[in-house]
């Protein structure tokens, strides 16, 4: 089983109130030096069978027509390297 990740972010020109709320809270939490925060969505799809080009193309289609609303959002699709522990959010980073 392979994992495909679809990241969906609001387009840069669309106001992101959630990201802004995080950013506004940073000083209160004692954080400096973060110029901008954007908040988006991350989908993890567990795909049965091989993730070949055809499968990826279909998932792109899915992202375009369904997971993202391309009127306001951009997206990326990528296969997650199963080994790379750094990118697999299965345990809290400490």
């Amino acid at each position: 089983m392979a994992r495909v990740v679809v990241d969906v972010m609001l387009k840069p020109e669309i106001l992101d109130p959630q990201g802004q709320a995080v950013q506004r809270a940073l000083p209160r939490l004692g954080f400096e030096g973060i110029a901008d925060v954007r908040q988006g969505k991350r989908f993890e799809l567990e795909v049965e069978g091989p993730v070949d080009d055809a499968a990826l193309a279909r998932i792109r289609e899915l992202a375009e027509s369904f997971l993202a609303n391309t009127v306001i959002e951009d997206f990326t699709v990528r296969v997650e390297e199963s080994a790379a522990g750094a990118t697999a959010p299965t345990g809290a980073a400490r």
């Binding site: 369904f66 997971l67 609303n69």
Partner: protein, 225 residues
């Protein structure tokens, strides 16, 4: 024969019974439509009610758009059938691309329920003919994702073509661009808005009865047609 107005129930629709009540109080015959049923049962117009269709998970209206009933609604709307999308229904109309733009999280990040003053900007649509342009009405507003957004060009186009149907008065409740509360398609048969006219049809339960005009408008229009 009375005019038949369909009200779609998606799983998670909440204000469907209220929309049917509003149709009834305006003198029409409400017809319940089911999301899995492509057949519109000879209705003359359709209301997509408020609520959280399919939980509004993913994005509001995103899943409802792909329901069987919407296939027919989209087709008939393109053919000129009057369609009103209220709140979640507005979101479904945008997701379906029957109306331009999208609805995003309220800028203050909270759900907001309040009595909202609106200015009727366009009294020529199928759903607003009983109002006069410039008229002020008050109806409930309740949503968490009601911020209307579209790119500048689309916004300019909407304004130029008189397709902004309602604007918020007395404070923008959700960060909508240019205070837009509701819009219409070019033909004027499809109207979507965030506020809830169906909750302003009885003095007992609503802040006003200003919302009745939506339903009387479409009934008159259909009788004339």
């Amino acid at each position: 024969m009375t005019t038949r107005i369909g009200v779609v129930t998606f799983p998670g629709s909440l204000d469907d019974s209220d929309a049917r009540r509003a149709v009834r109080l305006a003198g029409g015959e409400p017809v319940a439509l089911w999301h899995r049923d492509r057949d519109l049962h000879q209705v003359d117009a359709v209301v997509l009610p408020g609520g959280f269709s399919y939980g509004d998970y993913l994005r509001c209206g995103a899943i409802a758009r792909f329901s069987p009933v919407m296939e027919t609604v989209i087709e008939q709307a393109r053919g000129g059938m009057p369609v009103l999308g209220i709140c979640n229904g507005f979101q479904v109309l945008c997701e379906s691309h029957l109306l331009p733009g999208a609805l995003t999280r309220n800028d203050h990040l909270h759900f907001v329920c309040r009595d909202q003053r609106l200015k009727v900007e366009n009294a020529d649509t199928a759903w607003t003919a009983d109002y006069t342009a410039g008229q002020e009405i008050t109806v409930p507003l309740k949503n968490g994702e009601g911020g209307y957004v579209a790119d500048e060009r689309t916004l300019d186009e909407l304004e130029a073509e008189g397709r902004v149907v309602f604007r918020y008065l007395g404070g923008n409740p959700n960060g909508s661009r240019r205070d837009i509360a509701g819009i219409t398609n070019a033909a004027g048969n499809v109207v979507g808005l965030m506020p809830h006219p169906e909750h302003a049809v009885e003095p007992l339960t609503g802040p006003t009865t200003d919302g009745l005009g939506f339903f009387t408008s479409v009934l008159k229009k259909l009788v004339q047609a």
